[in-house]
């Protein structure tokens, strides 16, 4: 287990560096919410989820919905590092007609289960997947990553009620709780706390975890896999722009561009060449 956690930490570091490079190569983009979700994606894609890079459509796979579709670069990078396609392909991020548009598109890239980008829609799609699996008595799980900003959206709570009504304990949702949305802090723009109490009141099994601690994340997801009759939500406390000091916690870095000298200092911070 210790080795696994060490490996996941290394993978997360590599994922963060590669994601940063891909976004920068594309001329900038959603650094903030991509860098905050790194450990979550690393743990899911490099250990937890049953996926098959050799057969992305394998029906036995777990399903994944990136409801915060603007974190697409992280998912692309993770898929590349898992061998779905060459890492070098990430140079096509945001390029016209490429397989790597800013927001994930399932029709353009194998390995994407749902096209997202319009916030608030992912949890409903995950519910539909989970209802289908339960009705067929299949044990695949549905993982969904939500942004905290999109929790402002009413549809998320419509889906939360439905998941509870239908006892969708095969859903494991993880909130990238980086506390920052486009215009400012979440509690300033639209207060969403007390988040754990809200989800609990909506009939979910809710927990909180440090979203950059891979060991804690890993163990929390394993806990959530134990069926309780309730859908699972893990509130992963993260830092927007994590890993790059001048971006951390700053709403200004929800998306943005950097210059050449910033790029070099970022690479140093992210441990390039270590």
């Amino acid at each position: 287990m210790e080795n696994k956690i060490t490996d996941l930490k290394n993978i997360a570091r590599q994922l963060r560096l590669n994601t940063f490079k891909a976004i920068t190569n594309a001329g900038g983009g959603h650094y903030g919410g991509s860098l905050s979700v790194i450990e979550i994606i690393a743990v899911l894609y490099f250990d937890i989820m049953r996926i098959n890079p050799k057969n992305p459509d394998d029906d036995a796979r777990d399903r994944f919905v990136l409801s915060k579709g603007h974190a697409g670069p992280v998912l692309y990078t993770a898929l590349a590092m898992r061998g779905y396609f060459p890492l070098d392909d990430l140079k096509y991020l945001d390029k016209p007609l490429s397989s790597f548009p800013k927001h994930v598109d399932r029709l353009k890239l194998k390995g994407i289960d749902a096209s997202t980008g319009s916030l608030g829609q992912g949890l409903s799609i995950a519910c539909g997947m989970a209802i289908s699996l339960k009705q067929q008595k299949k044990d695949n799980l549905v993982y969904v990553v939500l942004g905290d900003g999109e929790l402002d959206s009413g549809q998320t709570w419509e889906a939360a009620m439905a998941a509870s009504k239908y006892g969708l304990d095969n859903i494991i949702a993880i909130i990238d709780r980086n506390q920052v949305q486009i215009d400012g802090s979440t509690e300033e723009i639209m207060p969403i706390e007390p988040l754990k109490d809200k989800w609990t009141a909506f009939g979910w099994r809710a927990s909180e975890v440090d979203g950059h601690d891979v060991a804690a994340l890993h163990s929390e997801i394993i806990n959530a896999q134990k069926k309780s009759g309730k859908p699972n939500i893990i509130i992963a406390k993260t830092i927007k722009g994590c890993g790059i000091s001048f971006m951390e916690g700053k709403w200004q870095w929800h998306s943005g561009t950097i210059d050449g000298s910033q790029y070099k200092s970022c690479l140093l911070e992210l441990g390039e060449g270590e």
């Binding site: 399903r63 399932r106 096209s115 799609i125 539909g128 997947m129 209802i131 549809q155 419509e158 439905a162």
Partner: protein, 314 residues
């Protein structure tokens, strides 16, 4: 209205239950309007494939998308105004952009909402749905056509919208007519003008032909149940043969059947097009008959419009 109209819920509920028996992948989704759609028999027969999300149309469409992602065949129904307006972004992104095999049924469509009035009368659903890439759009005019459209939808792969009013006649056309996807139906050929209609308006339009004949006007009628993909050929033929077209629909004259026919004929400026429908107006709190008459979906207004277009041809 003299023709007897029957609740579409009877056909929707019965056909879906039949389809559900034949195909274990069929799901029915409701947003607290099972009473309007008529799917209680399906729920009783297949409770584990009947989902009711309450008054939450966006979630209705999203869950349907998720089911379709698992190769299931969801039929999601809510009132057509909510389907095309409240859930418009979910229909656009979760269904149309994802190209998920979701069947969207807009019930109580158009003026058939009657006294529920402006808040409930869909005036833009055909326009909205028609704009969406990957979406097919069907506007049936009788129960036989509705049943055939539903069966077609279950077989077809891809997003599809059916505009289902509260009521329709059992059978509007004679037995020789059979719904064919992607095809309009030439009910009658004419030489002075051609009326093009669908939905409940086809009932009104088919009743005007004899009246026009009495006025010395030889009018053709094209029934046009499949708005997208459109049978352009039948429109262009009618344009060529008669030089004047009148569209009739219980929908805004912008973007629906009238918009479509104008777009098609505009490509080669082949005919005068007059559009009958809601002209920049919301629906009313009134009976179906009153509203049809008020918005000019009537024999009187069709005769008046026919005379106008004929005089404009000269």
């Amino acid at each position: 209205m003299k023709t007897e109209l029957k609740l579409c819920a009877l056909t929707y509920g019965a056909v879906l239950t039949e389809l559900g028996r034949e195909n274990a992948d069929i799901f029915v989704l409701e947003a607290d309007l099972m009473k309007a759609s008529g799917t209680r028999p399906f729920m009783e027969a297949y409770p584990d494939r009947h989902i009711n999300v309450g008054v939450a149309e966006q979630n209705l469409v999203g869950i349907a998308a998720g089911l379709a992602s698992m190769q299931r065949i969801p039929f999601a129904c809510t009132m057509s105004n909510f389907m095309s307006q409240r859930a418009s972004d979910q229909v656009t992104i979760s269904v149309s952009f994802n190209k998920f095999n979701v069947k969207l049924i807009g019930c109580y469509a158009g003026l058939s909402q009657e006294k529920n009035g402006a808040t409930h009368i869909s005036i833009m659903d055909v326009a909205v749905m028609r704009c969406l890439p990957n979406m097919k759009v069907i506007v049936p005019s009788d129960h036989r056509e509705l049943a055939d459209a539903l069966k077609f939808a279950a077989e077809d792969n891809g997003p599809l919208y059916i505009r289902m009013p509260r009521v329709l006649p059992e059978a509007l056309f004679d037995d020789s007519y059979k719904f064919t996807f992607n095809k309009g139906y030439q009910v009658k050929t004419g030489c002075d003008l051609t009326i093009i209609s669908n939905g409940i308006s086809s009932l009104v339009a088919s009743g005007v032909l004899d009246e026009l004949e009495k006025e010395g006007i030889n009018a053709g009628l094209v029934h046009f149940p499949v708005v997208k993909p459109a049978d352009e050929e039948i429109i262009l033929e009618a344009a060529e043969q008669t030089g004047a077209l009148i569209t009739v629909e219980d929908h805004s004259i912008y973007g629906g059947l009238g918009g479509l026919v104008s777009e098609i004929t505009g490509k080669n400026r082949s005919a005068i097009v007059a559009r009958i429908g809601l002209n920049d107006m919301f629906g009313l709190t009134a009976s179906l008959d009153f509203q049809l008459d008020y918005f000019g979906i009537s024999v009187e207004n069709l005769i008046k419009t026919a005379k106008e277009v004929i005089s404009r041809k000269k």
